[in-house]
Structures are given as structure tokens and as C-alpha cells.
Amino acid sequence: MTTETTPAAVTMPASPRPPLRERLGDNKILGFLGRLIVQRPLGAFGAAICVLLLLTGIFADVIAPEGYNHINPIDRLKPPSAEYWLGTDQLGRDVFSRIVHGAQLSVIVAFAATSLSIVISAVIGITSGYFGGRFDMVSQRVVDGWMCFPDLIILIVAVSVLGPGTWQVIVILGLLFGISGSRIVRSSVLSVKQNVYIHAAQSMGASTLRILVMHILPNVMAPIIVLFTTRLAAVILAESGLSFLGLGIPPPAPSWGGMLSLDGRSYMFQAPWLAIIPGVALTIAVFGINMFGDALRDMLDPRMRGAGAGRYVAAVRRDRPSSRARQAGGASQ
């Protein structure tokens, strides 16, 4: 087993090395990363993209050569060059700087909106799923009613209610995804509730609060974490879609979607990098989050483990050719 590529190798002493699995087994996070790299290389790649995105977001001010709205009037629509790595836009702003600041904006919106949505989903999903009965009935009808409207139409109308702006987008996306996500939390609560250990806790006289906190919540954490990652990607896409329509985060904020918006379309014919670059940034970010999320789901959901479906015609691989002669010779029995 090679140890060079794993993060554990960096922190471990060089001399006698126990097998990788044993060393990683001691630390949950390192163990998880090790398994991620070995079992799901694409997921590890996605995780690397996520980390990169996060770091870009945090250190945007350091990385970006210019402010996101720094106008260089003489350098309008310059193609990529040594000075402007990714060119400039119609106002002469450095596209690279805007992409980097855009990453920051995406990270902020994604984390804030997703966290909000997860809290909403968890509260509705867990209470509705565990208590059931009338409360569940009513809340599910409300969720049904809400969910029969297309997301984007709710978003458009809601933005027109609250007006465009960063916090508005965060609140709306958080609410929107929170309500639809409550379905997923609820259904996992319903399945966890079926488990005999919940019955055991009830029959031993544990209080409802204890059951919810000690038994239900820890056991629905896996789907909630998975929901979190898928929602991150969905939030980034939804925010950029809104900004693309001119309804999300208003200019001059450097939203990737806004940079692609219809207003700037006429310039894109002259300067195609204006159209290509934000799209590539978006695609990479969403791709990375999706890949990481998929890997996470496969590793957290034991049902998906070893999902090999195999054909029921077993391969026969013998080192020796089989011999009819053996049969004729009469196997000693």
C-alpha cells in the first residue's frame, strides 16, 4: 500500500509504519480522508475543489490584484494578458479580480443560505416525522402546497417582494430549500423511527427530548450532511440563475451569474471571455461540490456501499484447465 499520497504520511513519523488503515483508524477525520482518497478519487478531487473555493473566498482580498469594482477606463474589453490574466470587461474591470471576489460572494451566499435551509429542514422534518399525527398532517399539506410551485417562479416573485440584494437572496433561498428539504429529513426520521432501538428507548422510559437528541438526531445526521452538500451546489446555481436574470444580487457586486447577465450580452460578442470565464468558474465550483457530495453520500449511506450488481453468471477462473479425464479416472471418494 502506498503511503506517499495520503495526508497521514505527512504527519506520521517516518520510521516503522503500521499499515495505513490501522494508522488512519485512530483519527476519524484522517481515516475518512484516507478512505475518500482510496475509494473515491473523484470525490477527493471534488473535495480539493471545495477547499480551493473556500480558501479563495476567505482570502479573496489578498488574492485579487484589484477591487471588484476597480475601473480602468482605458483598458476596456482587453483580452487576457499578463497584466489582466482573464481580460477586462466593458468598464475596464479586471475579470480575474471579479471572479475571485465572486467566489467570496458565492461562498457567503451558499453557506448562509444552506445553513438556514438545513436548520429549517431539520426543525420541520424532525418534529413532523417523529410526532406524526395531526401536526404532521397539517405541516405536510403546507409543504405540499409550497412545493407545487416551481422554485424559480417562487424565487422571482419573492425577490420582487423583498427587492434584490444579498441578504434577501440568502433568506429566500434558505426558506425555499429549507421547506423542500424538510421532506428528505422527515423521510429519514420516519425510517429511523422504525428501528427497534427507538422502541427500546421509549419502552425504557426515556423522555421525548432525550430520544430526539440522543437517538433520532445522530442517526439522521448522515442524510442531513448529504443534504447540506447538495444544497450548497443548488444554492450557488440558483443564486447565479437569479442574478443572470437581473433579479439576484445587483451590480456592481461580482456575482458569477450577474457577470453573465443579459445586460452584458452585447459585449460578449466582442469579448467572448466575458461569457466563458464566469461560466467555467461556476461549472468547476458546482462540479466540485457535487462530486464531494456524491462521495460523501456513498460513504455515509451503507446501502450504497459495494453497490455492485453483478451478473448472476459467476466467472470461473481456475489456474488449471479442468479435466474431464479426472472424472473418467474416478475421483477418489
Binding site: Q39, V313, A315, V316, R317, R318, Q327, A331
Partner: protein, 345 residues
Amino acid sequence: MSDTAVSQPLDQSEEMPVTDPADALLQVENLHTVFRQGRRAINAVNGVSFSVGRGETLAIVGESGSGKSVTAMSLLRLIPSPPGEIIDGDVYFDGRNLLDMSEDELRSVRGNEIAMIFQEPMTSLNPVLSVRQQLAEPMRVHRKVKEENIEARCLDLLRQVRIPDPEARLDAYPHQFSGGMRQRVMIAMALACEPRLLIADEPTTALDVTVQAQILELLKDLTRQHGSSMILITHDLGVVARYADRINVMYAGQIVESGTALEIFENPRHPYTLGLIASMPRLDAEEKARLKPIEGQPPDLGNPPAGCAFHPRCPFAKPQCREQDPPLEPYRGNHLKACWVNVDE
């Protein structure tokens, strides 16, 4: 069902079909099946040899993980692949080696000359196809039965397995049947082409005792009627005692003892067989009699102990047992055991 189905007479050893290997219907030699999990390989079946005579009922008993089901599945290569793989052995059915067959040849044996009944009647029938559709399939594939005769043949099969009101049940779907009735449908399906060998993999594990008795009596009657052989896979020693002519006891992927039902129950030669019989709760026991369990846990097949796989749990273990894996050798006639120890000592 013959109203009072009396089991076979005691002097079965004389009446029992002769199992001369040359005349055996099925002859398995040195079968090895592994399942690969990443870099780990689990030796589910680890060198199994046995034969099944014509008209004979052979039971394979063992606890979960002993490899009894995998052995049965390997005969027809019904091992999902990947992750499963047969890495050694021969399976001669009527002189033809099933493990050398092409997929097409193999298909003409499956469901035709050798049929299977599975453990879970609840999940082994396709929920979206009617009983008629599923029952007719083997006949269409193997027997080219004319379309106009299929219905009559299906009804006949349902009658054979004693499903009441077959006309009404023919177009029903599996979820409309009880567990016992589904297992009857499975049996009807298996019998559709009058196979010469029937492999029943824990056919009654999921069922109640009275239903179990019905199903097993039915299987006994039908195999006898058609003169077919049967391999009965089970973990229940009681079932074995009632229905088997010969018994293979499996532990950790190997046969540890093989013999007639009387030989195995009255003169067990392997410590595992001995322990299994002693630990079995019995209906005819003394009141609240204490059971004698086999201490310890079954081995991890991905990392089996050296030597005899049973030695860590064996009260008779000698130093030799830790080092060398005992071969399956005759103890007396066709009574075989794989053990270095003489349990009488």
C-alpha cells in the same frame, strides 16, 4: 399430501440409493468460491467435494456464514460476479462440467434440468409480474410449450403444489399471496420443466413451523413422485433428521463431516457436529434441560485461523489442529470426517 405422511423406515441404510460416484447425478470436486471486497478476499467456499445420487435427498447443514448457500449457488454459477468468483473446482452434472459451460449451455441447464428454490418467498418472486407470467417463463424458454397449452400446464402445476382455487389465483400478483403460498408458487415454478435436480436453499426459514412442515412434506412428495434428486440447504438439524437421506455438515466454507442421517446423528465424528447436536434445543428434552453451547464465535472468513478452522472453538484441539488443515477422509465406508482427533478418546 398423504394424510399421515410417515417418514422413511428405519432401515434406510439398506434402502438408500447407492451413491456410487460414477453413477452420481451430480459430482462436485474441490469447489472454491471467493468474494472480493476491495483487497480482501472472502473464501466463502473453500474446497468442497461431494456427490448427489439419483433420487437422493442430500442435506447441507451449517450455521450462517458456513458457505452452504454459496455452495448451492456455485453449482449453477448463480454467484453475482463481480464480486463473486469461482476460482477452482469442477461440477459434473450427468457427466457434463457446469463450470466449463458457455453461458448459453449453462442457461439450458438452469431452470430446466436443475431448478432452485430460494430462501425468501417474499422477495424471490417479481412483484410486478403475475403468477401466470412467471410460471410460464421456464416452459416458454426451455420447453417450447405451445401457447394454447401453457394455461393448462400452469393450472396443473398450481394444483400439484396444492394451491386452492388455481383458476382464480393464476392472474394474481405475488403480494396477494401469503408466505407459504408464495413458496408453493416458487416450487411450482421450479417444477415447471420437471428438473432432475432440485436445489432448495433454506426453503422454509422465513416461514412458520406448520407452514414449514407443509412445504417440506410437499417437496418430499413431489421429488419422490418425479424421482428427482434434491439438495436441501438448511440450518435446522431437526429438518435434516426428518427429510434427508445423507448429510453434509459445513463449517467455515468446508465440509467437516458427511454421512447418512443415522451416521451423523448417532455417531457424529467431528467435534463441530457433536457440538451442534448438543446445543440444539430439543422438543424431546428433559424439562428445562441445560444446553451445551459451542463456546466462542464463528471465524472471520476473510482471515480464517491457521490449521483446522474449528480449532479455536474445539474442546478436543491438539497442537496438530493449529497447524494442519485436516482433509475430509473416510471414517467408515461413506461416513467421512475432516478431523485429526478421535472424539471418543
